[in-house]
């Protein structure tokens, strides 16, 4: 098995006295998509910034493509030639036109992609004379993706790449990431959109409070347990429902107003839920049967902290 493309061990990042990352560890396997997910302020972007050399770690070890960070001089340049970065916001020259910016970035790499072809593939007209500041948010994200990928990276850090993209552009982006992975590129992705993660990620690292609270494949995180989810009034007394559910079924409320009964979603369980709701005058909404969504799992994990 090849060495991981990114190895982070006990990473600590501080802003003054506040720790944004406090002991985070994870590996990103070569040729796979690793997704960092978690709430705002969890430390995902700070971690990416350390991995791409924009920020110093207060403690811990970070190794990217076999190079220990921080790297300087020729080691830094050699590493950065193999790494592409899409920053969470900005990173583009507002007065530049898309093609001239991507051409300039291409000139910094030894073996770049064709800038016009790359922009075209991302749905940006390479011939446009519109300056970047006048493009829509989604178009700007696509130009940022082009600047991250034009250097033909072995490893790409994509920080919230689909934020602001419409559904169609997001699907195109998913296809692009699959193409990149097919060509052997390693991707480290941070996102709040669980759809991105479920469609793309080989491995998920759930980050909260500056550390990893769970890691695994999407299937491992979601689990195989089926159940019933429904919405109701917040903080309902669940003792009556628990009393009528079969012995192996559990019921939890997370987040408030969202209820989940885990266990076999058979007619007995459904009947028990319906009867309990009727007795208490509870109108249920969004009742669904099946495995939990990744979003449910992440919300539960973060909520349990």
């Amino acid at each position: 098995m090849p060495d991981p493309a990114v190895r982070v061990e006990d990473l600590v990042v501080r802003y003054g006295s506040r720790a944004a990352v406090s002991g985070l560890s994870f590996d990103a396997s070569t040729g796979q998509v690793t997704a960092l997910v978690g709430p705002n302020g969890a430390g995902k972007t700070s971690t990416v910034e350390v991995c791409v050399g924009l920020r110093s770690a207060a403690a811990g070890t970070v190794e990217v493509l076999g190079t220990s960070l921080p790297a300087s001089g020729s080691a830094r340049s050699a590493l950065h030639q193999r790494v592409g970065v899409m920053l969470q916001d900005g990173g583009l020259y507002p007065s530049a036109r898309p093609l001239e910016l991507v051409r300039h970035v291409a000139a910094l790499y030894p073996d770049p992609h064709d800038p016009a072809g790359l922009l075209d593939g991302l749905g940006i007209d390479p011939g446009t004379r519109t300056p970047i500041r006048r493009l829509s948010g989604g178009e700007q994200r696509r130009v940022a993706a082009a600047t991250a990928l034009v250097g033909r990276p072995d490893l790409a850090f994509l920080d919230e790449p689909t934020a602001g993209l419409d559904a169609i552009a997001r699907r195109s982006f998913h296809d692009l990431v699959r193409e990149l992975v097919g060509a052997g590129t390693t991707i480290v992705l941070t996102t709040h959109l669980m759809d991105d993660v479920e469609r793309l990620a080989d491995r998920v690292v759930v980050v909260a409070g500056g550390r990893s609270i769970r890691q695994g494949t999407v299937a491992e995180l979601v689990g195989q347990v089926e159940g019933v989810s429904f919405r109701g009034p917040m903080h309902a007394d669940l003792s009556g429902l628990r009393a009528v559910l079969p012995g192996d079924a559990t019921v939890v409320e997370a987040p408030p107003g969202h209820y989940r009964v885990d266990g076999a979603a058979d007619p007995m369980v459904l009947s028990a839920i319906a009867a309990w709701c009727a007795q208490h005058g509870i109108r249920t909404g969004d009742l669904s049967i099946g495995r939990r969504s990744l979003e449910d799992v992440v919300v539960e994990l973060v909520g349990d902290l």
Binding site: L54, S77, H80, V85, G91, Y93, A107, L108
Partner: protein, 250 residues
């Protein structure tokens, strides 16, 4: 550094210089500073009695020295500081920090672009000077090394300012310092005409040293004084040290 690495580094520096020059020359404000202000100032100084003395036979050469000094300060200090400050605010510098471009390559690119734009500005000023009667003295070429030293000095302080302050503050301070240097830094009003302590202090400023050395070259055809070179070099050394210390990608 191996020959291959050095060539890659040079290629990236040149790519950055070409990029910076393209952006600078597209900016309307920069074109105003580079072309319009030197021409306008030279015409005001040579064709009116507002500031200069009409009976001075070296009036055009003296005015040209002032204008060249203004061009260096505006391009190498004010424009460079403001552009760099806003590149940091837009995150463009942060992005460049993730590419193979190193800090020294970025700096080399910015310096080269600034030198090109300053050279263009100086060329426009000299051409205008020739049109209004400037006849270069034999040793006028002494101005060239002083323009280079002055550009390096003010560029170092432009980068230092951009590293020290937020973009909006850089905008205010860079413009403020530019005006103060013009009026009280021995550029438009000669050091000898400034009153008392103000004159004594101004003599130690890089703006005064640059203007004085350019005046020597253009009016007298003489080499710059040792004091001028020393003052500019000292400001360059301190500015370079401050900018190296304060530079940050984000």
């Amino acid at each position: 550094m191996s020959a291959g690495l050095a060539a890659s580094s040079r290629r990236r520096s040149l790519a950055q210089a070409s990029w910076e020059t393209r952006l600078l020359l597209r900016n309307g404000e920069q074109l105003l500073l580079t072309v319009a202000i030197p021409i306008g100032l030279l015409l005001v100084l040579t064709l009116t009695d507002v500031i200069s003395d009409a009976s001075d036979p070296d009036r055009v050469a003296r005015a040209l020295a002032t204008v060249l000094s203004v061009s260096v300060i505006s391009s190498a200090f004010t424009s460079l500081a403001i552009a760099t400050g806003f590149e940091r605010r837009s995150g463009a510098l942060r992005f460049l920090g993730t590419t193979p471009l190193s800090r020294s390559e970025l700096l080399a690119g910015k310096l080269l672009a600034t030198a090109l734009v300053t050279g263009l500005s100086a060329g426009v000023a000299c051409a205008t000077g020739l049109l209004v009667g400037w006849r270069p003295a034999a040793g006028a070429a002494w101005a060239i090394p002083m323009l280079i030293l002055g550009t390096a000095t003010f560029a170092a302080w432009g980068m230092a300012l951009a590293g020290l302050l937020r973009a909006e503050a850089v905008l205010a301070v860079a413009n403020g310092v530019f005006l103060v240097l013009l009026m009280f830094g021995g550029v438009v009003i000669p050091v000898a005409s400034l009153p008392g302590l103000l004159g004594d202090l101004a003599a130690w400023l890089p703006s005064a040293a640059l203007t004085e050395s350019l005046t020597s070259a253009l009016v007298d055809g003489a080499a710059p004084s040792g004091a001028s070179v020393l003052v500019l070099t000292a400001w360059l050394a301190v500015g370079a040290a401050v900018s190296a210390r304060t530079f940050r990608w984000s």
